[in-house]
C-alpha cells in the first residue's frame, strides 16, 4: 500500500514538474544579453486570454510575418518573451515588472489595448526600454514631455482620428452632426473627443445616442437621431456587430444621412452581419490605404501563412511596422542591448519602408507618433457590394 502511495506521489510530482515546465515556457525566456548584438530579446504583452484575444494573435503574427524580412534586411533576430495581461491594467502592471526586471527584455511590444498600456507607461519610461506601441491608440499613452521618450507608436492615435473624422463630418457647410457611441470606454472616449473637437472648431454636435454593446435593437436611438434632423453621423462602437445593429435600424427606418462615418472597428465582421444596401453610404477614415499594395500585401501574406483572414488587419500591419522600425534601429545602433542607442536610432530614423510604403523622417524628439492628423494623408474607405474594401478617396478632398 505504502509502495503504491509512493509511486502515485512520485508520478504526481513528476507530472507537476513537467506541467510547470510546459506552462512556464511561454512566460520565460533567455532574456538579457545573449552575446549576439543583433539578437534582441523582445517582450510581447497583450490579452493572450480574455475577450480580446484576437489582439494578442495579431500582435504575435504581425511580428512573425516581419521576421524573415527583418533577418534579411537588417540581420536582426528575435527571442520572444510572452506575457498575458488578460486585458487587465492590473495584470499588465505585474507582467511588465517581470519582463523588465527578470527577463530583461531589450524592447517591449504592446500591450495591445489602451487601458493596460496606460498602466505600464510610467514603469517603462522609468525603467528605460524601447517601447513599441503598435496597436493601442489612446493619446495619453505617450507622454510628449518625457525626456527621453521611450515610446514609439506605429498606429494612429485617437485624437488624430477624431480630428480627421471631424473635418470629414463637417465638410459641408451647415452639416448637422450626430454621434452614436458605445456605452463603454471606447465609445465614451470617442464621444468626448468629438465634443472637444466641435468646441475647438466652433461646431455643435446636434444629437448623441448611446448604444449598449450587444444590443439587439437600436431602432429607438436611430429614430431619435433621424428626428433630430441629423444628416452627418459618426458611429463609434467597439464591434462590427454593433455597427450592424445601427445600420440595420437605419435601413429599417429609411434613415439615409449624407455622411455615414464609422470607426475602423467596422472591419471586425461587419459585412458578415449586414446587407450590402446598409453599407452603400458607409465610410471610415484610415491613415493607411487598406487597398494599397503595402497594406493588402501584408494581409495577403497573413492569409497564406495562417490560412485565414486576419481579424484585425490593421493591428497586423501596425505591429509589422513596429517590428521593422525596431529592427532597423537595432541594426543602426549595432547593439540590441544598448537600449538608449536603439531608442535614439528609432527617433532619428531617416526613412522607414514597410512593404513599399515609405515614411521620411517619421519621428522627432517631440513626435513619436508615426501618423499625422493631416486629412490629405488619410483615406476614406468603404465596402463594395461584395463586401470587399474600396478606397473612396482622400479624407482631405
Amino acid at each position: 500500500m505504502n509502495r503504491t502511495l509512493r509511486s502515485v506521489a512520485a508520478g504526481a510530482a513528476a507530472l507537476t514538474l513537467l506541467l510547470t515546465a510546459a506552462c512556464g515556457s511561454d512566460d520565460t525566456g533567455s532574456g538579457g544579453d545573449s552575446g549576439d548584438p543583433l539578437r534582441a530579446t523582445i517582450g510581447l504583452i497583450g490579452p493572450k486570454s480574455g475577450a480580446a484575444q484576437f489582439y494578442w494573435t495579431e500582435l504575435v503574427r504581425g511580428i512573425e510575418l516581419a521576421e524573415p524580412e527583418i533577418k534579411e534586411r537588417f540581420g536582426v533576430t528575435f527571442d520572444k518573451v510572452e506575457g498575458d495581461d488578460q486585458g487587465s491594467p492590473d495584470v499588465a502592471s505585474r507582467v511588465i515588472q517581470t519582463m523588465l526586471n527578470q527577463d530583461e527584455v531589450d524592447a517591449v511590444f504592446g500591450p495591445s489595448q489602451s487601458g493596460p498600456s496606460l498602466q505600464v507607461a510610467e514603469t517603462i519610461q522609468r525603467t528605460g526600454r524601447p517601447w513599441l506601441v503598435s496597436i493601442a491608440a489612446a493619446d495619453e499613452i505617450l507622454d510628449p514631455d518625457a525626456d527621453p521618450n521611450w515610446g514609439f507608436r506605429t498606429n494612429n492615435n485617437n485624437s488624430d482620428a477624431i480630428a480627421v473624422s471631424g473635418s470629414y463630418l463637417w465638410a459641408e457647410p451647415g452639416a448637422k452632426v450626430g454621434i452614436f457611441y458605445g456605452a463603454d470606454a471606447y465609445g465614451q472616449s470617442n464621444r468626448d473627443m468629438l465634443a472637444a473637437y466641435a468646441e475647438d472648431n466652433d461646431k455643435t454636435v446636434v444629437h448623441e445616442e448611446v448604444i449598449q454593446p450587444g444590443a439587439t435593437d437600436v431602432s429607438s436611438q436611430v429614430r431619435k437621431m433621424r428626428d433630430a434632423g441629423v444628416d452627418s453621423i459618426l458611429v463609434a462602437v467597439t464591434t462590427g456587430a454593433d455597427t450592424a445593429a445601427v445600420s440595420k435600424a437605419m435601413d429599417q427606418l429609411g434613415f439615409e444621412p449624407d455622411r455615414f462615418l464609422v470607426t475602423a472597428t467596422v472591419l471586425a465582421g461587419y459585412t458578415d452581419l449586414a446587407q450590402p444596401r446598409e453599407w452603400e453610404n458607409l465610410a471610415f477614415i484610415e491613415p493607411r490605404d487598406l487597398t494599397g499594395d503595402s497594406f493588402a500585401g501584408i494581409a495577403q501574406r497573413y492569409e497564406e501563412e495562417y490560412g485565414e483572414k486576419p481579424t484585425s488587419a490593421v493591428a497586423v500591419y501596425t505591429t509589422y511596422t513596429s517590428a521593422i522600425l525596431y529592427a532597423q534601429a537595432v541594426a543602426a545602433a549595432k547593439d540590441a542591448h544598448d537600449w538608449e542607442a536603439v531608442r535614439q536610432a528609432m527617433e532619428d530614423t531617416p526613412s522607414l519602408d514597410v512593404n513599399g510604403r515609405v515614411w521620411e523622417q517619421p519621428f522627432g524628439a517631440d513626435d513619436h507618433d508615426l501618423y499625422e492628423d493631416d486629412p490629405s494623408s488619410w483615406y476614406v474607405i468603404g465596402f463594395d457590394p461584395e463586401g470587399n474594401l474600396r478606397t473612396i478617396g482622400s479624407a482631405g478632398s
Binding site: S49, I211, Q212, G214, T239, Q252, D272, L273
Partner: protein
C-alpha cells in the same frame, strides 16, 4: 412607440423562454443552471456548425441543435448538479458549480471559436414586417412566434400532462415520489434537457439576427433570470409573462430615457419584486404553517 412595444415584446419572448427554463428546473429540482446563457451559446455554435450541412433543411438543423444541447443539459444535471441536490435544499454547491461551468464554457468557446460575431446562414429572415400600425424586423417576429409557441407548449406540458404531474411530485417530495415509482434523477434530467433545448432554439434564432459569438451568456442570463424572478420562479406561466414584461420595459425605458435606463429598469424591478412580493407577480403565495 408601438414599434418599441412590439420589438420589446419580441425580444421579451426570448427572455421568457429562457426564464421558463429556470422555472422548470427550479420547480423540479430546486436548482437552476447559471450557465444557461452559455448553454445557449453552445446551441448557437452547434447550429453554426450545422449551417454547412446543405441537405438538411433549416428547421431540421434547429431541431438537431436543440437535441444535442438537450443532451448537454441532461448530462450537466446528472454529473454536475444532481450530486448536490438535497431534499431540504440547503446545499447550494450546485450554484457554484453552474457558475464555474459558465466561466469554463465561455473560455472554451472563446479559445476554440474566437471572439468575433459570425453570421448564421440559416434561420435568418431579412426585412421588416409591417403590421400597418407598427413594424418589427421579420427575424424578431420569427423569434417571438417560435419562442412563444415553445413557451406555451412547455407550460402546458408541465401543468396539463401526467409528465408534468410527476415533475411536480418530485418537486414536492422527492422521497415520497420515489416510493410511488417516480425517478427523481430522470425527472431532473428531463427538465434540464427541455430547458436547455428551449434555450438553444431561442439563442439560435436570436443569433440569426445579431451573429454568433461566445459572449452571449450574460446578455441572455441577466434579463431571463430577472424575468423569472419578476414573474415567479415557481410558475412556468409567470416566468413566461415576466420575460415578456422585462423585454417591453427594457425597450420602452430605452426609448424614453436612453439605453442606460433601459438596461437598468428591469433590475430595479427585480429588486422591487423581491422586496414587495418575493414569490413573483404571477406565482401563488405559499403560506407555511409552522
Amino acid at each position: 412607440m408601438l414599434d418599441q412595444i412590439l420589438v420589446g415584446a419580441a425580444i421579451g419572448c426570448l427572455y421568457a423562454l429562457i426564464a421558463q427554463g429556470f422555472a422548470l428546473t427550479f420547480r423540479t429540482t430546486h436548482t437552476m443552471n447559471f450557465a444557461t446563457g452559455e448553454i445557449g451559446a453552445i446551441g448557437a455554435f452547434v447550429a453554426l456548425g450545422l449551417a454547412g450541412v446543405g441537405w438538411l433543411p433549416a428547421p431540421a438543423k434547429l431541431a438537431a441543435a436543440a437535441i444535442i444541447v438537450a443532451l448537454v443539459g441532461a448530462v450537466v444535471f446528472a454529473v454536475l448538479i444532481r450530486p448536490f441536490v438535497t431534499n431540504d435544499g440547503h446545499d447550494a454547491r450546485w450554484l457554484l458549480v453552474t457558475v464555474a461551468l459558465s466561466l469554463v464554457a465561455v473560455d472554451l468557446l472563446r479559445n476554440s471559436q474566437g471572439t468575433q460575431h459570425r453570421p448564421l446562414d440559416f434561420a435568418r429572415l431579412d426585412g421588416v414586417l409591417s403590421l400597418g400600425f407598427a413594424q418589427v424586423p421579420k427575424q424578431l417576429a420569427l423569434l417571438a412566434v417560435v419562442c412563444l409557441a415553445l413557451g406555451i407548449a412547455i407550460a402546458l406540458l408541465v401543468t396539463r400532462t401526467g409528465l408534468g404531474v410527476r415533475m411536480r411530485a418530485v418537486a414536492e417530495d422527492t422521497e415520497t415520489a420515489g416510493l410511488v415509482g417516480i425517478d427523481a434523477r430522470r425527472m431532473g434530467m428531463l427538465s434540464y434537457a427541455i430547458g436547455s433545448a428551449a434555450v438553444a432554439v431561442g439563442a439560435t434564432l436570436w443569433t440569426g439576427y445579431v451573429g454568433v459569438f461566445p459572449d452571449i451568456g450574460p446578455l441572455l442570463l441577466v434579463p431571463a433570470f430577472a424575468g423569472a424572478v419578476i414573474g415567479g420562479l415557481i410558475s412556468v406561466w409567470g416566468a413566461l409573462a415576466g420575460g415578456v414584461l422585462y423585454g417591453i420595459a427594457e425597450q420602452l425605458f430605452a426609448h424614453w430615457f436612453g439605453a442606460t435606463a433601459g438596461g437598468v429598469i428591469g433590475l430595479v424591478a427585480v429588486v422591487g419584486v423581491l422586496v414587495l412580493r418575493p414569490e413573483g407577480l404571477f406565482a401563488r403565495r405559499v403560506e407555511v404553517k409552522v
